[in-house]
Amino acid sequence: MVEVLSTDAIWWSLFTMFTAAGLILAGTVTLIFLYLIYRYRVKGSEDKDELEPGRIYVETPAKGSSRLLLVFTGIIVLSLIVATFDETIYLERTPSEEAFVIWVTGFQFGWQFDYNVDGETITTIGAVVVPSDTVIEFKVTSRDVFHTFGFAEFKVKIDALPGIVNSMWIKTPEEPGEVYKAYCYELCGIGHSLMVADMIVVDKNEFFQAYEAGPQEFRNFINQVISEYRASLQGAP
């Protein structure tokens, strides 16, 4: 099986690439800008110059070198974007056919998660339990208005639109135990800021053991993980 890269790793590599190119290009331009301001400053308040009012001055003709600068920076910027096309396509398509599918429905104001276990639907609200080291595909829709489902850490998000099912994937970390926040990223009403859900990563083996044991077993497992997590929050000072 091909190693699946995590979405955040791809994102950070692109971010680094853009930042490096940006620093070089914008940095050079800024340095030239600062140098010119310093070099051609005038200290006195009044001085004579050959440009007099009452004439129309249109332009200073361009020199060849500046044209070169434009072409050069243009090529860099364009190649940047073309370089991201591969990653974009990779991020768009769920990389594994064995992805674990969870249905997500946005509503005012919360997230509903549905698992399909042997044809039976298991529903949770406000929290979702996922196995570690697995590709998860979220099939996202909305019950009412325009929401956007996404995780800050995994650097992916997708719009939740009424009547439309969109798809988004992440790869969960290898180690269980972390809890991630899912946010809503599109203003959806006065409770928009409260549309936060917890994604609890549990051990892959435990998870799939419960999953294969059937709907009843799985429901108990999920509920137990979520209530344990919530209890741990209340126990905290």
Partner: protein, 818 residues
């Protein structure tokens, strides 16, 4: 009696501002009003920044927070930024091109009063019990539907947006015609100052971008109040709004940015004492950006899940559009090369704006990548990026422009120390507010509460920055008031600048210039008297060798001439129409009686307007010495073609919405399949109506021929025929609609009938307007105002009927046959 005298003077002063049609007065009105809106929106920003300085803060409720955020965005973008630029443009474009005024001064006043009325409508929402609009300035559907936000505040804002779009469209016609046909002799296109050029591009963008917004707002209003479901339909309604809104929304960014960049270009070149470096690159850049800006809107929709390859195309065009701006920036920077840079206040603001633009621009490049956008969308990275553009660049450009032109507008110099304090505080404030937001780019936008401890410090820094920025605005206000009251008198040209607006008094007289400015072939500006200009040929004028040429330093100011064409006739009608629109639209939301009163006021204003029109009070030909190449020397003709462009966008938007809903199956499949048109509609009646439509246009063509030949009988017959046939068309339409409702194909049947009613309804309104125009033309004929020399006005109405007919030839097959 002193009280009575004071009262009399006050009344005259108020009346002067209510009735003025002078472009400089209107410019001041625009600027003052937009600054007023700026302070409202700015205080709202301080409110929500205060909220965010504390975690789980209860300073504002969620509802109040979203009202503040939404109205802040709407007001800043639509009622401050563009109108402030419109104010500068009003004041300085005619001066920079050497014109006396805009092409249509009274329409210009109308634009202003409609703009003011539309802004008041939005603000009035705060008085509503359910509060002002609170759905975000992007107004994403279906949150805006009545089910989710029943507040009349939303209706008021939506109508405000529609009215503003109308005002903007009128402005675009005015400015484009003015610049096309009223340039001083010898002032060729390339010699126009960058600010005027930036306004040309801004107006072109507005012309094509605002009609889709107007259509979107109108559809949203009928969705909310008449029960259609264009945007609330689960069959892609939310995406339809996205498309319409962002087709406007992205060009809007450049609408906001261009005027500031244009002013910055003029200012940098003036204070670096160098003509602009490679102006042709900057112009090319603006041109490319204008074209490309209509091909990038889907980068706001990268995570909507639409077709991947479509999005990749938009990703490419988005990055492509960064190149023209990079060209422009490099050209601005290289203007400093070998210059003699003077650090005046306008120059400081302009240079700071370029710095902010580099930062704001390069952080925007990230958002062009779909992969990176998956992380950035809806976060503070976006907020920081566009505020660096809008505040750091655009607003700083406006400050630069304000201090640059302050002496010209007021005739006074400002206090440099106060202005420097403003600059320092504003620069610290902007960077302290928005730079921390890049660092907490994981934080979602528009959250009024958060519980992530790492975000707290940066939010507090940001809030501190916004307070400092707020303080700088108070300093700015003090600087301006101090300058007005205590400033030393400003000379004509304090900056030794070389554009035309500096070659007249500060402030300029109502006529702008003593005599006609002429740019000679060797690049000098000379002034010749109007008599000489009228008698000379263009080549004589621009040769600069005419006798009687005045020196230009303003040493001799002859008494201004008061010929009919140049005196500024005043008119209260634009104000009446503004009040009427405000009352009518407010009444539409609130109360039937106010609506009726509003319509009555509108009718009264329109009657007065047309009466003046009939008496030629505002009729002024373009003097033959002005530059019009390559356009015809006719305000009406040029204006008509610009108007047609906006009409194309209106119907284009409506038909695009129809195509999107019908032929682009996204989302939930419609419950009822979309029936072919001939299943619902009577094709026979449709054909009859098509014939009536064609015949009415032919009939008007006959009327035009009659006027041209001086044959009054033919002209009358043609016009009466058109009125008869147009009315017949509407009557047939009325019965057609009635039948449809009776047969159960009303609005509640589904999107198939809703699109039909929308398209034919808007077309019907155009027919009604055509009837009004035709009736008026008939009156003009009876009043003896038409003749072979004045046949152009009739031709314009004929062209209008032509458009109405062409639109019908699209509607008929699309809705009846397929």
């Amino acid at each position: 009696m002193a009280g009575a005298e004071f009262f009399g003077r006050l009344t005259r002063w108020i009346l002067r501002w209510l009735t003025t049609t002078n472009h400089k007065d209107i410019g001041i009105l625009y600027m003052v009003t937009s600054v007023y809106f700026f302070f409202i929106a700015g205080v709202l920003a301080l409110l929500f920044r205060t909220q965010l300085a504390m975690p789980a803060s209860e300073f504002l409720t969620g509802k109040a927070y979203y009202e503040a955020v939404t109205v802040h965005g709407l007001i800043m973008l639509l009622w401050f930024a563009s109108p402030f630029a419109a104010g500068l443009a009003n004041y300085f474009v005619p001066l920079q091109i050497g014109a006396r005024d805009l092409a249509f001064p009274r329409l210009n006043a109308l634009s202003y009063w409609l703009y003011l009325a539309s802004g008041i409508l939005v603000i009035l929402g705060f008085l509503a019990e359910a509060g002002a609009i609170d759905v975000g300035w992007t107004m994403y559907a279906p949150l805006t539907s009545k089910d989710f936000t029943p507040s009349p505040g939303v209706d008021l804002a939506v109508l405000g947006v529609a009215l503003l779009s109308l005002s903007v469209t009128i402005s675009t016609i005015n400015f484009l015609v003015t610049i096309a046909t009223m340039r001083a002799p010898g002032l060729s296109w390339f010699k126009l100052p960058m600010f005027t050029w930036s306004i040309i591009f801004t107006m072109i963008l507005m012309l094509y971008a605002f009609p889709p917004l107007m259509v979107g707002a109108a559809i949203l209003w009928i969705d909310r109040n008449i029960g259609t479901e264009f945007f609330s339909s689960p069959a892609g309604g939310a995406l339809l709004w996205d498309h319409l809104f962002w087709f406007f929304g992205h060009p809007e960014v450049y609408i906001l940015l261009f005027p500031a960049l244009g002013a910055i270009a003029d200012i940098v070149s003036t204070f670096a004492r160098r003509p602009l470096y490679a102006k042709r690159y900057i112009l090319t850049a603006f041109f490319l950006a204008t074209i490309l800006s209509f091909l990038v809107w889907m980068h706001h929709m990268f995570v909507t899940g639409t077709n991947l390859y479509t999005r990749l195309f938009y990703s490419f065009t988005t990055i492509l559009i960064s190149i023209p701006f990079e060209m422009a920036t490099v050209s601005l920077i290289l203007t400093l090369y070998k210059g003699k840079i003077r650090f005046t206040i306008p120059m400081l603001f302009a240079l700071a704006a370029i710095f902010h633009f580099i930062l704001g621009g390069s952080t925007g490049v990230y958002l062009g990548s779909i992969a990176l956008d998956k992380g950035f969308r809806g976060t503070y990275w976006v907020v920081a990026h566009f505020h660096y553009i809008l505040v750091g660049t655009m607003l700083f450009g406006f400050f630069a422009a304000l201090y640059y032109w302050f002496p010209k507008i007021t005739g006074k110099m400002y206090n440099k120390k106060l202005a420097l304090l403003h600059f320092i505080l504003a620069t610290i404030g902007v960077n302290l507010t928005f730079f921390p937001q890049f660092i907490i780019f994981d934080m979602p936008r528009r959250y009024f509460t958060y519980d992530v401890p790492e975000w707290l410090t940066f939010n507090q820094l940001s809030t501190l920055g916004s307070y400092i920025f707020g303080l700088s605005m108070i300093v700015a206000l003090i600087t301006i008031v101090h300058g007005l009251l205590r400033g030393s008198p400003a000379p004509e040209n304090p900056w030794r600048a070389w554009t035309l607006e500096w070659l007249t008094k500060s402030p300029p007289p109502p006529e702008n210039f003593e005599g006609v400015p002429v740019v000679t072939n060797d690049g000098r500006v000379v002034f010749v008297s109007e008599e000489v200009a009228e008698k000379s040929s263009r080549s004589e004028l621009v040769s600069g060798k005419l006798a009687g040429v005045q020196p230009l330093t303003g040493a001799s100011h002859a008494a201004p001439s008061h010929s009919h064409a140049h005196s500024h006739p005043v008119s209260i009608d634009p104000f009446i129409l503004g009040v009427g629109s405000l009352l009518a639209l407010f009444g539409l939301v609130v109360n039937k009686f106010i609506l009726a009163a509003g319509i009555a006021v509108l009718a009264w204003g329109l009657y007065r307007w047309l009466r003046d029109e009939l008496n030629d009070r505002f009729h002024a030909e373009i003097p033959k010495y002005l530059e019009t190449w390559p356009f015809p020397r006719s305000k009406l003709r040029n204006g008509m073609w610009v108007f047609i462009a906006s009409e194309v966008m209106v119907f284009g938007s409506i038909l695009s919405a129809y195509f999107f809903i019908r032929f682009n199956p996204v989302g939930k499949v419609l419950e009822e399949p979309w029936p072919p048109g001939y299943m619902i509609h009577d094709v026979g009646i449709g054909i009859i109506n098509t014939m009536i439509m064609f015949t009415s246009t032919l009939s008007f063509a006959m009327a035009y021929l009659g006027v041209r030949k001086g044959d009054n009988i033919l002209a009358q017959l043609g016009m009466i025929g058109t009125i008869f046939l147009g009315s017949l068309f509407l009557i047939v339409k009325y019965f057609e609609w009635k039948e449809l409702f009776a047969a159960g194909y009303g609005l509640d049947w589904g999107l198939a009938t809703q699109t039909y009613f929308l398209a034919t309804g808007v077309h019907g309104l155009h027919v009604a307007l055509g009837l009004l125009l035709t009736t008026y033309t008939l009156f003009k004929l009876y009043a003896g105002r038409l003749g072979p020399q004045r046949s152009e006005e009739v031709l314009m109405v004929a062209i209008y009927w032509g458009i109405v007919e062409i639109v019908w030839t699209f509607i008929f097959p699309l809705f009846y046959l397929v």
